[in-house]
Symmetry: C2
Subunit: 336 residues, 2 copies
DNA sequence: CTGTTAGCGCGTTCAC
DNA sequence: GTGAACGCGCTAACAG
């Protein structure tokens, strides 16, 4: 912090008036002489006066800073969300400080502590894959710091939440496959305790059920670490008899691996097997054939979450609501 | 900011000692009785005391905050850099506040002003495609706020800089093609006033020259908006006689489009034409054939830039240096 | 070793 | 309308 900065004290001295008068003039208070006010403003302009944010924070007890926890910044989806957040924040004159949890609980906790110690006025968090304990978040709330969870939420924790309707997204993806005539639709899912997995799996199951298609447990394969286990999953799926005619994958990167494998085996997509992913990762537009996928509105999630949080900061005692944003099915060649 | 927070005042009152003694105990000062210190620490622990960062900032005149300007957060390269920055920052107990310029000068300037008004101790900036004026940055420097530029730098502005040796990266990519026996190597470049374009083009030219290959102007095609014009560029290139046997593209997304086009025309990669991209975007591992490309160490750029900036903040009058990080050629199937 | 005093830059009473 | 005085939570200089 530069020490040569002009302060209201300087202005007061130069104008031969008191500090508090300067303060009033600057803050556009009501009971102030027009002339003195203009004089102050003029001098402030000339001297390039800028209020000291830190000092203001100290006395007003508000930092205008919001902390954001992101599992992994390099994820396309989360960086979109972050973009939405920063856009809204700057609109309301808030700043965002963000930390990555890198999907570990330890980093998540230490990040939260750092942000809180920096006096953020609110917290936007998407929990790591390891997180399931709400007690750390309870502590924060007890300090009176509002929390809004986005995307990866903790069901046990009561706060406003912004999520994507993954159930509907998965449901529509599978419905699309059914409409295309698919009858043996496999699903590559993730760990059973991850909400992402559960929601998408349920959407898959719901669509099959609503269209009177039997549910074959052999067609549901767990890829524990998503794309890292997708190859094994697709191999397993392709051994099942009678043969599948579609594979709905938990995310795009898994789907890309599936596409590669099928191609290597001479299995034609979409003619023999249709494939659908989830996320609308940029990659899905580039693979061959291009990948049908479920678009999640990351930017909108970020915008909405930040909007809600700022609301909660400004009017305390906001009701906890859960907002569910809708996905969009992006149909490309892998399911045509 | 919560008002119910425990302060050193509370601790002092409860222990019947003075505020400054508490402060000393907490800060682990030398001249303090072991017993009183332990008593303070114990009570602080019990009451869950946490120092008020804002108050500390005000008196110590340091906010421990660093501002980062990123052209576009969703770019894989920049999000990597950001990750590197946050890692180093947290190691040194600094926080990062970041803003996107979205590649516009207006947003860049307003972001900088915001960050400065928030009393960041230093600035890490990668300029937008529109920026060429150094005067805004001069103003910041005059306030005594150190600036380090990374990746997209302004040559006219004197400060420490961290860049990637794109010339060498391009040179090595083309050299690799030459070693593979290519003799008619085309290049899809970008706008002539963009440093990215210039550096990579020069690397291309240098490699041809050093290997005594003629430079054919017909083989150098400008794709003004990179991938958006890549299709036109490759079409043009494929019309040239004698036919090309390799295409070196300014970035991966352009290269992917080139691959698609060649495939659609029944031209085999790498047998008929070899293709190389730039960036090592995740997409390059997924396309078919997988794409040879030049990896830029984004994470390292971020780490180094943040390290230098923190150094400059801590010891004023640091010499301005330019660090040039090396790229790595990632050889995949498109050039095998 | 400890307490007193004096700020950091600003907002907010309260008299005048 | 304006100024003096105080406080936000903390550090630092100085006595003792």
């Amino acid at each position: 912090m530069r020490s040569d900065q002009v302060t209201i004290k300087d202005l007061a001295r130069l104008l031969n008036i008191s500090i508090s008068t300067v303060s009033r003039a600057l803050r556009n208070a009501s009971d102030i002489n027009r002339e003195t006010k203009e004089a102050v403003l003029k001098l402030a302009e000339e001297l390039n006066y800028e209020p000291n944010f830190i000092a203001q924070s100290l006395v007003k007890k508000q930092t205008k800073m919001i902390g954001v926890i992101v599992p992994a910044i390099h994820s396309n989806y989360f960086s979109q969300a972050l973009a939405g957040m920063t856009d809204v924040a700057s609109e309301f004159n808030y700043h965002v400080m963000f930390c990555q949890s890198n999907e570990t609980l330890a980093q998540e906790i230490s990040s939260i502590k750092k942000l809180v110690a920096s006096n953020v006025e609110g917290l936007l968090v998407s929990v790591s894959k390891e997180s399931s304990d709400i007690c750390e978040f309870e502590k924060i709330r007890q300090k009176g710091i509002p929390i809004v969870m986005y995307d990866r939420i903790l069901n046990g924790f009561s706060c406003s939440k912004v999520i994507v309707d993954e159930y509907e997204g998965a449901y529509n993806a599978v419905k699309h496959l059914i409409r295309k005539g698919c009858k043996r639709i496999a699903h590559i899912t993730g760990p059973t305790d991850l909400s992402v997995s559960v929601n998408r799996l349920n959407g898959y199951l719901g669509a099959l059920k609503d269209h009177n298609l039997p549910i074959d447990p052999d067609l549901i394969v767990i890829a524990k670490a998503f794309e890292e286990n997708a190859l094994m999953a697709v191999k397993k799926i392709m051994l099942v008899k009678p043969a599948v005619d579609a594979i709905f994958c938990i995310n795009d990167l898994s789907a890309v691996i599936v596409l590669k494998y099928l191609k290597s085996k001479g299995i034609k997509v979409p003619e023999d097997v249709r494939v659908v992913g989830f996320n609308d990762d940029p990659v899905s537009g580039y693979v061959e054939p291009s990948l049908t996928t479920v678009m999640q509105p990351g930017y909108e999630v970020g915008k909405l979450a930040m909007g809600i949080l700022i609301d909660e900061i400004q009017n305390k005692n906001f009701p906890c609501q859960t907002f569910r944003l809708r996905t969009k099915l992006v149909i490309r060649n892998s399911s045509k």
